[in-house]
Amino acid sequence: MLSYPEPGPLTLNVNGDMLSLTPRPADTLLYSLRQELGLTGAKPGCENGDCGACTVMVDGLPIKSCLMLTAEAEGREIRTVEGLNNTVLQDAFMDAWAFQCGYCTSGFLMTAHALMEREPEADEATIVEWLRSNLCRCTGYEEIVQAVKAALEQTQRS
């Protein structure tokens, strides 16, 4: 079992950048991303794994960064919303009005981005299954599902 009894420096691979930091053993990945690395796109919503606002990609899979210790993330490929730029998905979210307050959006984007990478042919049932990990309190969800569908369709076409 991994053991980190004392704080020590480690390096995280975030959006392709190798970043050094010295977390406390109890620091979550969410905490380190936001407080140490200034990547505040991932949001705390419940810090209990219920809402998904903190979702980032770790080795290609959506992970709730409030449930992963920073120490566990070393040596893995971390991607946050700050690493998404001008993607079809982001455009689709804007077009479909798939957010209102925007607080849950980073998490939805990272879940959906992972889905698009792993399940490029996803049907609606698969989309729904993936997106159920995230909560939104503003929209009616239809907009978010539509955005993800539109992004998948556009990627399939090109």
Binding site: R24, A26, R34, Q35, L39, T40, G41, A42, K43, P44, G45, C46, E47, N48, D50, C51, A53, T80, V81, E82, L84, N85, Q90, F93, M94, W97, F99, Q100, C101, G102, Y103, C104, T105, S106, L109, V128, E129, L131, R132, N134, L135, C136, R137, C138, T139, G140, Y141, E142, E143, I144, V145
Partner: protein, 776 residues
């Protein structure tokens, strides 16, 4: 060029899809101290002793505060709430003590080391429970509290915090005309706002006396006023800033954490302190939406025309009043639902309970109120063998009718409910009188309908403002005091300005945050009033700017200002547009070819104050509660499995008289989101307590929200009956999607299951219990 009526993207959209939109806790300052609350594990208990000795010796601890350190009471209407509990605790989650420390971890560890010795007291666990003989008293001397903003009438020696009354017409006559009556009781739990961003506040007190506050508030100007009042600081010294807010739904209009964060900062020589709710605290400690119990009696003649309504509502105010007295008057003002009833008697009680205190929740208590009325309307229709939409169409309130508070309505003020109902029939493919349909096996489908109305029930002197400054290139900066929490108020104001100036929306720049220091006051970003009030102020400011532009251009173009018009960033002569001058050449003054300059920076200023509102008379409720109404019709279709009582929500529909839709995708999104919240409340959400008043739902895995895939197919349509005094005719639509949905769902399920669903949430277990008596 037309911008109003176009689905222009939200101004802040690109930042929201890149993680670059900044919310309150996304901005950190080095050296910030951390405050952590110790909250009550009991619903009602006397505080015997608070031992802070061990905690105060712990590493990093800078200060510890308890109720003994705070000498005043808070309350928007009635000052009944100590910021930190004093003497006793009145709800699970109530703040009892606060630690300030150098790190979050130190603050949390120290908070766990504070020992509080409690002596249990009996609890009030429901409004009606609070009115029982020998019920424990939540407040012993409520009548002695200071009334900050009357009317409010607490009764010492009872749990009654307030009573709002409506007396209209002649009840004896009303009942005499009635050939059919219904009487029903309803019981609805409190709801949590569950905004994805929890509430937080940061406060720093500078040595020049200024107090810098940054919080998640919907009401920065109210925070400014209340801090000024509670702590005796001049308003000008209190600067409140609100960045983008991650959802609010009324729950962030109340002032709570800001007061605590101020106390925390004061205890550490004014250093910057942050206080952030965990999700558990956000659910337990900060206020919720009101629960409601009701006894509804309606009378109608043989044709189904309503003749009498006798209504009693008991609001679950929780431990403190906050905005409950204002909500009681809001319920009273619209207590009949959007129907003409000439004889009305309504009593709305605010009852203290040992629950988390209630504040505004999307619709200002209209959602639970509407539930009671719309369920009763379905019961009446059933007795009369009438179609549910037909009875609503027959009774729909019309121009010329009067409201329960005796306001005479006209088309501009009211809108057109009958048109909404007609449109709904088309939208649904409504077949009048159609019984629930058996699909196959145990599956039954049914549609439930409801109608709603709502006005703002806002203060009689609420103000709003707008300031336009020009950049030299001719583009505009628009400053308003409305908070952006998702409703799109900033984008809507920019659209209104672009439309009036006949310019591209891309030439209007907004800032997403609000600062009391530089932005003109907008009363509060609540009550769906922002488009109306801010919009009016923006139009006023635009007209002011246009006047200045024309005055200066008239000199240059050697004509009367009356000959001029503005369009596309130019001031031109109406009958010869080739003679014109560009904004860029005049908005920072005009320079003649030889060098002399005239004019200066063009700045448009606009204000708005609501007009003609009056407080409700305490005896009969007469008065004018808001500038206009929004009416609408909603429906929900369910497919119920009669074997296990699970159900799917197939369709949810709303037709709303929006006056004029400023941004179609935005408006549709607001309405769909409202429907989704309403379906969540009706089907699963409930703030639940055990018999001792402990909160059982303090996480998002016990307080359950709708998830992707559970949403129905949404049908949304708009009727557009202009509100003449509103910007481009636009009515309030922000809250309304939620209002009639719980009742429509309960009406659908009642029909499908053949039972009367008069409580929520309508879980399969509840349906089974109602159907079978809970016997297997």
């Amino acid at each position: 060029m037309s911008t109003v009526g176009e689905s222009v993207r939200r101004k802040e959209a690109p930042n929201k899809v890149t993680g670059r939109a900044k919310y309150n806790m996304d901005m950190q300052s080095p050296g910030t101290l951390f405050a952590e609350l110790v909250t009550s594990p009991h619903a009602h208990a006397r505080i015997r002793k608070i031992d802070t000795q061990n905690a105060s010796k712990m590493g990093g601890v800078k200060a510890i505060l308890t109720g003994d350190d705070v000498a005043f009471l808070c309350g928007e209407v009635l000052e009944d709430r100590p910021p930190l509990a004093k003497g006793k605790v009145r709800y699970f989650g109530e703040p009892v003590a606060m630690v300030v420390a150098t790190s979050e971890a130190d603050a949390i560890l120290a908070s766990l080391a504070i020992e509080v010795d409690y002596e249990m007291l009996g609890v009030v666990n429901s409004p009606l429970g609070g009115l029982e003989k020998n019920a424990p008293l939540v407040h012993e001397r409520a009548g002695d509290y200071v009334k900050a903003k009357p009317p409010v009438s607490p009764e010492s020696g009872t749990n009654i915090a307030d009573l709002a009354k409506i007396r209209k017409g002649d009840m004896a006559q009303g009942w005499k005309s009635a050939s059919v009556t219904v009487e029903a009781r309803f019981s609805l739990p409190p709801i949590d706002h569950a905004a994805m961003e929890t509430r937080s506040a940061k406060v720093e007190i500078l040595h020049d006396g200024r107090v810098l506050v940054q919080s998640t508030t919907q009401a920065p100007f109210e925070v400014q006023k209340l801090l000024s009042k509670y702590f005796g600081i001049k308003q000008g010294k209190v600067v409140v800033e609100t960045p983008l807010v991650g959802g609010a739904f009324g729950g962030k209009a109340t002032v709570q954490l800001e007061v605590l964060a101020y106390l925390a900062s004061k205890a550490v020589d004014g250093r910057l302190v942050q206080l952030v709710n965990s999700r558990e605290q956000d659910l337990a400690t900060s206020p919720v939406g009101t629960g409601l119990q009701a006894l509804i009696k309606l009378g109608a003649d043989e044709k189904g025309r309503l003749s009498a309504a006798e209504l009693t509502f008991w609001m679950d105010a929780g431990a403190y009043t906050d905005s409950s007295p204002r909500m009681a008057r809001a319920i009273a003002a619209e207590c009949t639902g959007p129907y003409r009833v000439d004889n009305v008697s309504c009593d709305t009680y605010c009852v203290y309970t040992n629950h988390t205190y209630a504040t505004a929740y999307r619709g200002f208590a209209h959602m639970p109120m509407t539930f009671c009325i719309e369920r009763a309307m379905d019961k009446l229709a059933k007795q009369l063998h009438m179609d549910p939409l037909q009875i609503r169409q027959l009774n729909a309130i019309q121009p010329g009718d009067t409201t329960p508070t005796q306001v005479t309505l006209n088309l501009s003020r009211l809108g057109d409910l009958r048109a909404c109902i007609e449109r709904m029939e088309t939208l649904l493919g409504w077949e009048p009188g159609k019984a629930p349909t058996h699909i196959s096996g145990d599956l039954v489908r049914a549609i439930g309908v409801s109608c709603f109305w709502k006005t703002s029930s806002s203060p009689q002197n609420a103000i709003s403002g707008a300031i336009i400054t020009f950049n030299q290139e001719g583009s505009m900066n628009l400053a308003t005091g409305a908070v952006e929490f998702g409703a799109g108020t900033k984008t809507t104001s920019a659209q209104i300005l672009a439309e009036r100036m006949d310019m591209s929306i891309d030439d209007v720049y907004i800032h997403s945050h609000v600062s009391t220091k530089v932005d003109p006051e907008h009363w509060k970003t609540v009550a769906s009033l922002s488009t109306f009030m801010v919009g009016r102020a923006v139009l006023d400011a635009a007209d002011d700017a246009i006047r200045q532009l024309k005055t200066l251009a008239a000199v240059i173009l050697r004509c009367s200002p009356k000959d001029l018009a503005v369009s596309q960033g130019r001031v031109y002569i109406k009958d010869d547009p080739t003679m014109n001058v560009a904004f860029k050449d005049i908005v920072h003054g005009y320079q003649y070819p030889e060098g002399n300059s005239i004019g200066g920076q063009i700045m448009g200023r606009g204000t708005y104050i609501v007009r003609h509102l009056s407080p409700l008379n305490p005896e009969d409720g007469e008065g004018r509660p808001g500038p206009s109404w929004t009416v609408g019709c909603q429906a929900v279709e369910v497919e119920l499995n009669q074997r296990d009582w699970t159900y799917r929500i197939l369709r949810a529909a709303t037709v709303i008289d929006a006056g004029r839709v400023i941004n179609p995708k935005g408006a549709r999104g607001m309405v769909m989101g409202g429907m989704c919240q309403g379906l969540g409340y009706a089907s699963r959400e409930a703030v639940r307590h055990d018999a001792e008043g402990h909160l059982l739902t303090n996480q998002l895995r016990t307080y359950k929200l709708m998830r992707v895939g559970e949403q129905p197919k949404y049908l949304v349509d708009f009727v557009e009956t202009a509100q003449i005094d509103a910007p481009y005719g636009a009515r309030a639509v922000g809250e309304h999607g939620v209002l009639g949905i719980p009742s429509a769902l309960a009406n659908a399920l009642s029909a499908a299951a053949g039972i009367e669903i008069d409580q929520l949430p309508a879980t399969p277990e509840m349906l089974w219990t109602l159907k079978t008596g809970g016997i297997l």
